[in-house]
């Protein structure tokens, strides 16, 4: 089992690198939350799904990191391919999410309280979960730092527990995002959020493709 020191280390690492995690997940999470319904409780539910799926991504990553020994041994070229593939899939999910989040008007769009989201609850749950999982698999700097440490542990169970503790440390920083539920949902907000998702998807797509091109794109 993980020693208490390692437990504390993972938690502290998560708490310390939380701002970097929220910055890395922000481009995906903020517009996703804004395309949902209004209300702190609803947003907390969406946030919970996202974070739960992100934990799955973390644990999956922990298994891979432990199996590989250390990410440091991963050469730049395969790392680029892995990142590129994650980015391309992420872009695809974002585009689908933006498309499915069409707003419809209950009776009149002039009344913001009657604005509804077209996507069904299960569609949104699947979309949010996919986004959480993919951001969990992204190699953001704090994640790589945790990956290095997890890879040094004695067993896969220890690596998994280390990542779980790390996850809870970072999650504290995500709690205020539930407050986005207070933002009014009208045609303007939902349209801006959807457009933002498309722009971010295009960014991830172009980044992913250039990463997959690897040598040609980056010159090595």
């Amino acid at each position: 089992m993980v020693a208490p020191v390692q437990f504390g280390e993972a938690l502290a690492l998560g708490l310390a690198s939380g701002p970097a995690c929220i910055a890395a997940c922000g481009p995906v999470l903020v517009p996703a939350l804004l395309t949902g319904h209004r209300g702190v409780r609803t947003n907390t539910r969406v946030l919970g799904i996202f974070l739960g799926a992100r934990l799955m991504g973390y644990l999956l990553f922990a298994v891979v990191a432990w199996e590989l020994g250390a990410l440091a041994s991963m050469l730049p070229a395969p790392r680029l391919v892995l990142m590129g593939a994650v980015n391309v899939i992420l872009a695809g999910v974002l585009l689908w999410y933006a498309w499915s989040a069409k707003h419809i008007c209950g009776e009149s769009c002039s009344d913001e309280r009657l604005v509804n989201i077209e996507a069904s609850k299960s569609q949104r749950t699947r979309g949010t979960a996919a986004l959480g999982l993919l951001t969990g698999l992204s190699l953001c700097p704090p994640f790589v730092a945790a990956g290095f440490r997890a890879a040094q542990l004695g067993s896969i169970a220890q690596a998994l527990l280390f990542f779980t503790c790390f996850f809870f440390g970072t999650t504290v920083w995500f709690v205020p995002l539930a407050g986005l539920g207070c933002v009014v949902r009208n045609q303007a907000v939902i349209t801006v959020a959807r457009m933002t998702m498309v722009l971010i998807a295009v960014y991830y797509l172009s980044l992913g493709i250039t990463m997959l091109l690897g040598r040609k794109a980056y010159g090595y």
């Binding site: 922000g26 903020v30 801006v192 457009m195 971010i200 091109l213 040609k216 794109a217 980056y218």
Partner: protein, 390 residues
């Protein structure tokens, strides 16, 4: 069945007398002299000539605004001149000081890049969370991020923005003039119907760029989306990624700054894309100057809506007697209104009570800024041209 719709009768505001117009122009003339010929300024003949031409040009435009009681066409002359001349002086300086318009990406990250106001909104979150800004810096090679220079520029921008709101985009921005010039070329728009949802575009670009800048700690807008990189500095393309980025800059410039303004007669980059414009819109809530529609005079002819270069008027907003948040205070709606229902207004006062006084107060501030900021750029670019041919 055809209906006989009578065109609204255009009631032009009365022209002022020459003497009164000259008197009203006097403060601006003094300001121009102070700006261009202050003690200690260069005695270079070509620079003096460029400064004199600029000063006369700016004072003459203000005089015409006073004489004709119209704003838009005179402001546009300045704005288009600024937009066309800015790249000339800027590119010249870049080539002289750095030897190329291309800036390596590591120079950008290190902040050794020319300052631009566009990324200001994307700097706020990184600055608040990390106490450092990823971009921009000074023009001088190896100068690094000049803290004082940036502070002065941001402070100046903030002070003027608090007063003028989004008026910055009509009197100070050195990019918008190119598309305004292009949009004024055709007599009629080829594309008349524009989906009003595109108005949300700048907000989406702003949100995306703020989030991406924070995530990547790079000036995402400058690295990926700025159309004006096509006419200023660009990323030195040393690999396919750099080439893709530069192709994006060129395509956005051609599409948003040349083709669409020509087809729509609107400032499409400002209306549908510019994240800085969206950010500036927030300050329209604070600024005391605004344009209002006097509902008692309005005949709902929507001439103002059609004339607005920024889609800042809609039927709903006209019915409410106000412009949308994105109004750039260019004055086109006021000039075109046949019933003088669109008026300049100071918040807290009754609508249409001495609107000319509100216009004057706004224009003094806005034109003083135009001379200080845009005028100095025009003079510098003229000097560059004169120097080239001398």
């Amino acid at each position: 069945m055809a209906t006989n719709v009578q065109a609204p009768r255009l009631v032009r505001p009365e022209a002022r007398s020459i003497t009164r117009s000259l008197l009203l122009t006097l403060p601006i003339a003094i300001w121009s002299l102070l700006m261009f010929f202050h003690p200690g300024s260069s005695t270079d003949r070509l620079l003096l000539l460029a400064s004199a031409i600029t000063a006369v040009f700016m004072v003459w435009l203000f005089y015409m605004m006073m004489r004709t009681s119209t704003t838009y066409r005179w402001r546009r002359a300045f704005f288009v001149g600024l937009g066309l001349l800015f790249p000339i002086g800027f590119i010249h300086d870049l080539v002289v000081m750095r030897g190329s318009m291309g800036i390596p990406v590591e120079e950008m990250i290190a902040g050794r890049t020319p300052f631009c106001f566009m990324p200001i909104p994307t700097l706020i979150l990184p600055a608040a969370l990390t106490r450092s800004v990823p971009f921009p810096g000074s023009l001088a090679p190896g100068g690094g991020a000049s803290g004082h220079g940036i502070a002065v520029m941001v402070g100046l921008w903030l002070a003027l923005t608090l007063v003028m709101g989004k008026g910055w985009c009509s009197y100070a921005c050195f990019f918008g003039g190119i598309e305004e010039g292009v949009s004024s070329v055709p007599k009629r728009p080829q594309i008349r119907k524009l989906d009003p949802r595109w108005r949300y575009g700048p907000w989406a670009v702003l949100l995306a760029m703020v989030l991406l800048s924070l995530a990547l700690f790079e000036p995402a807008y400058c690295v990926w989306l700025c159309p004006f990189k096509a006419v200023t500095e660009y990323i030195a393309a040393r690999n396919a990624l750099g080439t893709v980025q530069n192709v994006i800059f060129i395509l956005l410039f051609v599409g948003l700054v040349v083709v669409l303004p020509y087809l729509t007669k609107k400032r499409t980059q400002c209306s549908f894309f510019c994240p800085f414009g969206a950010f500036q819109s927030l300050f329209n809530k604070i600024s005391i100057f605004e344009i209002r529609i006097d509902k008692s005079r309005c005949k709902s002819c929507v001439l103002c809506q059609n004339a607005c270069p920024n889609l800042s008027l809609s039927k709903e907003s006209i019915a409410r007697g106000e412009t949308l948040m994105s109004c750039m205070k260019c004055g086109s709606c006021v000039d075109v209104c046949p019933n003088q229902a669109a008026v300049w207004h100071i918040k807290g006062t009754d609508v249409a009570v001495k609107p000319d006084r509100a216009r004057l107060m706004f224009l003094y501030g806005a034109w003083a800024l135009a001379i200080m900021f845009g005028g100095s750029i025009i003079a510098h670019s003229l000097f560059t041209i004169f120097h080239f041919f001398a």
